[in-house]
């Protein structure tokens, strides 16, 4: 009798322990499963991101790359990468990176659009020696320089700022660190093309307005009418722009363009080509150049202007420009820069009220200052035209590569 009871007791306890152990084991297993699931999902996601980065880099190196990858082994998982052109007219591409890791899948979609220099609020190859961005400077849109980026007392950059070289502080990071409201990257190489202006000429031949064999072309935008002449005292010839330049390109080959007081209605690029040694390929701003509808007060304004010079874009030292100048355009100088004529000897000329962007090879001066304020030339009042993030003047030079405009993960 006592032996049987002992057996029941032992069997009973064994059963209880088995149930408890099974319960604890299940909890442990589910706990580990939980970790493993999270790890697998995270790894699959990281593989998909890596795939997107690999494809983006391939496209950066070769903009025509669209081969993708099929079942590529990567980090213990597998990758499928597709590159599709989702909009042939605008050349919008999409990378689809799908990853599989131990049964968990993840995908990343990246949309890329051709990148134009017109998106920059400020771009330079050479910063003109040792010019510092100071606490008086605010750049409202994307910024890039191929040179060192020199900061003195917290300049402000509202758009993404990039430099090919590096950020230099005047004293220390604590005293000089810029405010980057749109991010910052160093080591970004984005050279200015040497054929950006030349590449526009075929468009001028096709559906634009082209001037050849003229030393100087005086141009006035009068809404839909373009007035031009070839010497200062000649009478203007007026043409209807939508008819003579349906693609919006106005091109003066081997010439100088002088833009008179203008009101631009529509989207145009005015281009001057020519060798810097012959003094051609320059554009002079003799007076204000503004849109027919200012986008800051007319949100539906579609007016855009590109002022594109092979060499310099200069504000003329004349009476009209001695009391402020208003410029609404994206300015591109392939070999030179944007500056003011006689910047160090002209009278104090008020402000440059620029709405647009400046893309230049070399940073130029627009005035001089002393301890009591401006000593000659202009003060800068530059505002970025935010529409340039999504639109560009006709045939504005491109960077030759794509930029990421949307990233879904």
């Amino acid at each position: 009798m006592g032996g049987k009871a002992s057996l029941f007791v032992v069997a009973g306890f064994s059963l209880v322990f088995l149930v408890i152990a099974n319960n604890f084991g299940t909890v442990s297993n589910r706990s580990v499963d939980n970790y493993v699931d999270y790890f697998s999902e995270t790894t699959a996601h990281n593989i998909a991101i890596s795939g997107a980065n690999i494809a983006a880099n391939k496209i950066y190196l070769d903009p025509t790359w669209d081969e993708g990858y099929d079942d590529l082994p990567f980090q213990g998982g597998h990758l499928d990468i597709e590159v599709n052109t989702v909009d042939a007219y605008q050349n919008i591409k999409q990378i689809v990176s799908k990853a599989n890791y131990r049964g968990d899948t993840s995908s990343v979609r990246v949309t890329l659009a051709p990148s134009k220099f017109s998106k920059f609020a400020y771009y330079s190859v050479y910063e003109g020696g040792s010019i510092w961005w100071t606490n008086n400077d605010t750049v409202w849109g994307p910024f890039h320089t191929q040179d060192y980026m020199r900061a003195y007392r917290h300049p402000v950059f509202y758009g993404k700022a990039t430099t090919r070289k590096k950020l230099i502080y005047y004293s220390s990071q604590w005293q000089d660190k810029p405010y980057f409201y749109g991010g910052f990257e160093q080591g970004v190489d984005l050279p200015l093309p040497t054929d950006g202006v030349d590449n526009i000429e075929p468009s001028a031949d096709a559906n634009g307005l082209k001037f050849t064999g003229e030393d100087t072309v005086y141009i006035t935008f009068d809404y839909d009418t373009l007035k031009y002449r070839f010497s200062y005292n000649d009478p203007d010839t007026a043409v209807y722009l939508p008819t003579v330049a349906p693609n919006g390109v106005i091109f003066a080959k081997n010439s100088i363009i002088r833009i008179q007081k203008s009101y631009v209605n529509g989207q145009y690029s005015i281009v001057s080509s020519g060798s810097e040694y012959s003094g051609k390929g320059n554009i002079y701003l003799d007076d204000d150049v503004v849109f027919s509808e200012d986008p800051r007060t007319h949100s539906s304004s579609t007016d855009l202007l590109g002022i594109i010079a092979q060499n310099e874009v200069l504000i003329t030292d004349n009476e009209a420009n001695h009391d402020d100048i208003n410029i609404q355009a994206s300015i591109y100088c392939e070999n030179g820069g944007f500056g003011a004529e006689n910047y160090d000897s002209r009278p104090v000329s008020g402000n440059i009220n620029l709405l647009g962007g400046i893309i230049q090879h070399t940073r130029r001066a627009v005035g001089t200052f002393n301890s009591s304020g401006p000593a000659s030339g202009f003060s800068k009042r530059y505002k970025y035209d935010e529409r340039l993030l999504v639109a560009s003047p006709p045939m504005f030079p491109g960077t030759g590569s794509f930029e990421i405009v949307s990233w879904l993960e």
């Binding site: 007791v9 306890f13 209880v16 408890i20 319960n23 604890f24 909890v27 442990s28 589910r30 706990s31 939980n34 970790y35 699931d37 999270y38 999902e41 949309t111 659009a113 998106k119 994307p142 509202y158 758009g159 993404k160 700022a161 990071q173 660190k177 405010y179 980057f180 409201y181 749109g182 991010g183 910052f184 990257e185 935010e386 993030l389 999504v390 930029e403 990421i404 405009v405 949307s406 990233w407 879904l408 993960e409």
Partner: protein, 199 residues
């Protein structure tokens, strides 16, 4: 009934009592352990769920299928504080901009749970009614970093400064055996919403 029989009965009572005491303590300990282990499992699952939801949403800060509707990613973050953040995104990837607002409610909202520290994490999509989730969150706080990797002092003067986010979540059991609450901690050291770096 002889003396040996009395000894047998007394011995049986003593041994039986010991066994019953063991069984009773075993039951109590097993209940506690089962409760705690199950609680920790639930806690861990809650934490993983919270982490996945937060990662899913935060990775899409500044995303829009129609990228022309949000060309300037510096404007994607609308509000940022220690335990609250509001940002623009495209929840359904339908090309329409949405806003998502995360914030942590006060402890006084959750008096019905035994844990005195847990709070409701709210997720508000556009102007919809806040969607509460009671997953035992006791702490949800963020640290913001600028483009150079330095932490940004609060309150954030300009939300465009934010380049990456450290997200911290602490989860505890909503109820525990003898009020011995377990906790689990998740930290995303640098959450970089890729769209903030576009353009």
């Amino acid at each position: 009934m002889g003396f040996s029989t009395i000894i047998d009965i007394l011995g049986s009572i003593i041994i039986g009592g010991i066994l019953m005491t063991i069984a009773w303590r075993l039951s109590d300990a097993a209940t506690e352990k089962t409760y705690n282990n199950s609680g920790e499992l639930a806690l861990q699952q809650n934490l993983a769920t919270v982490a996945q939801i937060i990662e899913w949403d935060f990775r899409k800060i500044g995303y829009c299928a129609d990228w022309n509707k949000l060309p300037d990613p510096t404007k994607a973050i609308l509000y940022a504080d220690t335990s609250a953040i509001k940002f623009l995104t495209d929840v359904d990837a339908d090309g329409n901009l949405d806003s998502i607002y995360y914030y942590l409610g006060p402890t006084s909202e959750l008096l019905e749970t035994e844990n005195p520290r847990d709070k409701i994490l709210y997720r508000v999509e556009n102007d919809e009614t806040p969607a509460p989730s009671n997953l035992g969150i006791t702490r949800f706080y963020m640290v913001y970093f600028d483009a150079l990797g330095d932490s940004i002092h609060l309150p954030v003067a300009n939300y465009g400064l934010i380049a990456s986010i450290e997200i911290n979540v602490v989860v505890e059991n909503v109820a525990a055996y003898d009020e011995k609450y377990s906790s689990a901690y998740w930290r995303q050291i640098r959450m970089v919403a890729r769209n903030l770096k576009n353009r």
